[in-house]
Amino acid sequence: MNDREIIELLFSRSEEAVSALAERHGKAVGRVAVNILGSLHDAEECVNDTWLGVWNSIPPQRPEHLGSYVCRVARNLALKRYHSGKALKRNSQYDIALEELGECVAARDDVEAEYAAHLLSESINIFLGTLSYEDRFVFVRRYWYSDSLMDIAKMTGMSYNSLSQRLHRLRARLKKHLDEEV
């Protein structure tokens, strides 16, 4: 069943939509959750919450890309759980990825967090637009999906070392980009 058909099922309030969602997007959603939470048990609960969140938001929403939409819902729920202190901290791919990106971003105590995040988001989007497809792919997989280097290396066929170096160069480019924008 494709995304459009799943959305139709959601609009028609058919519970079949949930199993179709799980079948089509369960793997990706589970990966996002476990990457952030670092615990299979927490991730499992997060995945179930994700289906409920999607069920409650479609309708009225009708996302163009259901895959990224459900991953976004899962990511938000996983982060909420993470920040609420329920998750196993300092041990997930998310923590490591966050630390890596932390090198690129200067502390901004002069503005509110939400506003600073908004500005940073816009800058990162501009930065992503300047990257090649492969660079953008590895960056988003690492820092949005919080995938491990090993997993990304497997996906792309790169060696672990060359991927690590590529990400290092990308972070340096991001830092330069952000410094220039400030």
Binding site: R62, H65, R72, H83, R108, A113, L128, V140
Partner: protein, 306 residues
């Protein structure tokens, strides 16, 4: 604090990048870049053609392809817009609103504390800025926003009023909605139910009425329109229809005076075996589809105003 900011900022990166990274394309990068450039150019051309289509739109004979929903990145399957033909005000307003929702800057359309839950939020406009943008689009295409919508209650009575009571004999008297139905102030409605032919055959059926004066967010339906057999059919009461018979879905579309009415039947010519199909339904042929068309009182549906 810095970690939270980074976390929030990464959450705001464009959906197109997130979606792009959902699956890795083999590193045939030159071809990939060319394809993306081609898609970008195609999107611009589509936008230009759409703009031209609106200026050229007049009621007349269209085919199913004229309801095709375009998407710059491609969905990988075919879908049609149930709200009307390309170039009609409602089609264009929906196109423009969808593009806004897809590409508006991060944070611009976030729900605000204490924001109202009304028809605007029902259409995806959560912030004042988005509401203003939607108002601009409606004004541009001469459309009004319905004041409210509601789920059908007293289903059977309403189906009877719509002239489709015979097709949906199983509608409960009140309360429980068998599938899904919404009725909008102004006369637009969406109804998904199980229809039944006089000979007892039953199949899933969706009926949409989009009033010409009001904006309702369209519903797109996955249909392999290019493999459909399509023809025009004039009902006994003179209503002209565009009819399409597909493998597992069939459609009726009526571009009427006050509304656009779209009917999608979840059955077609090779949906199932001659005796009983995989969904418990039987196949349809051209004559049966025309017979079904006569069961729907399109003139009555078109006359609904509130």
């Amino acid at each position: 604090m810095k970690e939270i900011i980074i976390s929030m900022a990464m959450g705001g990166i464009s959906s197109s990048y997130v979606n792009e990274a959902a699956a890795f394309c083999p590193p045939n990068d030159a071809r990939g870049r060319k394809r993306r450039r081609k898609i970008a150019v195609a999107a611009l051309v589509a936008a230009l053609l759409a703009a031209l289509a609106f200026t050229a739109y007049t009621k007349g004979f269209f085919n199913i392809q004229d309801m095709e929903v375009e998407h710059p990145e491609g969905w990988g399957y075919e879908a049609v817009d149930t709200s009307g033909y390309e170039g009609s005000p409602l089609y264009m307003a929906n196109e423009e609103w969808d593009r806004y929702l897809e590409f508006c800057p991060w944070g611009e359309n976030d729900p605000q504390p204490g924001s109202k839950n009304d028809m605007y939020t029902g259409n995806g406009a959560y912030s004042e800025k988005a509401r203003t943008r939607l108002d601009e689009i409606l004004s541009k295409y001469g459309l009004k926003m319905p004041e409210h919508y509601e789920a059908f209650d007293g289903h059977k009575e309403l189906c009877t009023q719509l002239g489709i009571g015979e097709i949906f004999p199983e509608c409960p008297e009140k309360g429980i909605n068998p599938v899904y139905a919404q009725y909008y102030q102004g006369g637009s409605f969406q109804l998904f139910d199980v229809a039944q032919m006089p000979n007892g055959e039953s199949f899933g059926c969706q009926i949409f009425r989009y009033d010409r004066e009001y904006f309702v967010k369209r519903i797109s339906i996955v249909i392999q329109w290019d493999s459909m057999e399509e023809w025009s059919y004039v009902c006994a009461d003179g209503t002209e229809l565009l009819v399409g018979l597909g493998d597992n879905k069939s459609i009726l579309a009526a571009d009427l005076e006050n509304s656009f009415v779209f009917v999608c039947l979840q059955t077609g010519r090779v949906n199932c075996d001659p005796e009983k199909g995989r969904d418990g339904t039987q196949t349809f042929d051209k004559a049966e589809l025309e017979e079904f068309a006569e069961l729907v009182d399109f003139a009555l549906i078109d006359s609904i105003s509130e």
